[in-house]
Symmetry: C2
Subunit: 273 residues, 2 copies
């Protein structure tokens, strides 16, 4: 019996992580749950984010997942440790993989991070980086225009280039960084624009790619890699508008997504308790 | 009490892995053991490689290591699974990290691997790659001139360029690969030459960098990361000639190595058993 891997996110951003998971682990079946109804998590109080995240986790645990990917920076920052110490399955977040990849990549230990206001002000990336190497210098920059731009499908062209250039300006003047972490799951969709703006000398790290890479290691490490060669059919669940979710997913994935259902986590929780 | 991380290799090649481990995990203390007396392992029978590897492992276990890095492709291919299922500490080899990094990097699923005769003929890399994604196509090439060239300190200049160009020629004519794994721990020292020869479109993967990255994840995953900020003093042990070992190590590391001792694993094993 093939056991799926669960992927949770506050909305659609985690789809970039799911896409990389499916690319790097093509034998694995993934179940994605996006809490689009209550998105974004960034501005919400910590306890609320924890409660919402646990609702998603309970929903996926009933689907017998063998591993959980927290594909959301806010949920990772607030719940990862608790999930890891509570659940009996491996749990992976999106912050540490990007941080470790940046440490590997950076030769001069000057690392930049861009993300939402919440992620940058949480200092989650500097804390993770400095826990491994306290001599690393980190420059963070919140980029509020990026998420709405990306969700509106503006991924190239003059307008996108102008927004990216203007938003990244403070970072370009700041230091001699050689590595930049895309600390938001939406940003890989404009990686090419960020790379062009920052120049070829900067290594741009995409959290989705790095999270998938680490998921692959942890699966192998626990002997949980899927052995069969039957192509999986992934499942997608959203708490919000299905059409909006489908439109964005189909724009971001190479093949149209097949199974998509709407779920109500609040009701589910009340009936379960 | 700071617990060290053990690194074993058949000789000096694993020093490139140790160097990356020290760079990416600067708080950790490493103990390196190179079996230079009985190097290379490649041409030896499997059972002998296993016995030699276990002798090294027993030596390091007495030094209370918290993790073991098998920084040798041959020893990884022959002993990794057994070590992982026998030892109570995490064990990491050098083959899977390079393979996973290549899967992350490759967009067209055409991956090349270069290594010693033994590593290439063992098919360890194709097997690991295809276990994760059976649609990946792998071209392997044994490069026998590289190890003696590197151990003789020929790392740049006309002679080195000529040897690299001639040796890699069969690979260049073969397919449209976009990623090349350096499947031998010596090769990172000539990564620049390989990159130049293969061209900028090819992503060259260094097993040392990737092994250190995965060691970092596994330490964090098990809560084993060193918390203190006291700079560690690493220890090096060799079964062979100390001066030769020191010369190569000092050429490869930025700072001269401090503690170096010669050990006799055969005697040790007889007295222990």
């Amino acid at each position: 019996m093939r056991q799926p891997i669960g992927v949770i996110d506050s909305g659609v951003g985690g789809l970039t992580v799911a896409r990389e998971l499916m690319r790097q682990l093509p034998k694995e079946k993934f179940i994605y749950l996006g809490d689009t109804q209550r998105c974004p998590y960034g501005p919400r109080p910590k306890e609320q984010v924890k409660r919402y995240t646990w609702q998603m986790v309970h929903y996926l645990l009933e689907k017998d997942i063998k591993m959980l990917i927290v594909a959301c920076n806010t949920a990772t920052a607030y719940t990862l440790q608790e999930l890891q110490s509570t659940l009996s399955i491996p749990v992976i977040g999106v912050i540490e993989p990007g941080a470790r990849a940046a440490i590997k990549s950076s030769q001069n230990k000057q690392i930049g991070v861009i993300g939402t206001e919440g992620t940058i002000s949480s200092e989650a990336y500097p804390r993770t980086l400095k826990a491994i190497d306290h001599s690393i210098s980190v420059d963070g920059l919140a980029c509020p225009p990026f998420v709405p731009m990306i969700e509106n499908g503006i991924l190239s062209g003059n307008e996108a280039e102008k927004i990216v250039a203007e938003t990244l300006q403070p970072l370009k003047n700041k230091n001699e960084m050689d590595t930049l972490i895309l600390g938001c799951t939406h940003y890989p969709l404009i990686k090419h624009l960020v790379q062009t703006e920052m120049g070829p000398a900067i290594q741009v790290i995409s959290s989705g790619e790095e999270t998938a890479r680490e998921a692959s290691l942890i699966l192998a490490y626990h002997g949980l890699l899927e052995q069969g060669n039957i192509l999986p059919t992934h499942e997608f669940y959203t708490t919000g508008n299905m059409e909006k979710f489908r439109n964005i997913a189909n724009r971001w994935f190479e093949a149209p997504i097949q199974i998509l259902e709407r779920v109500n986590l609040d009701t589910k929780q009340s009936s379960a308790n």
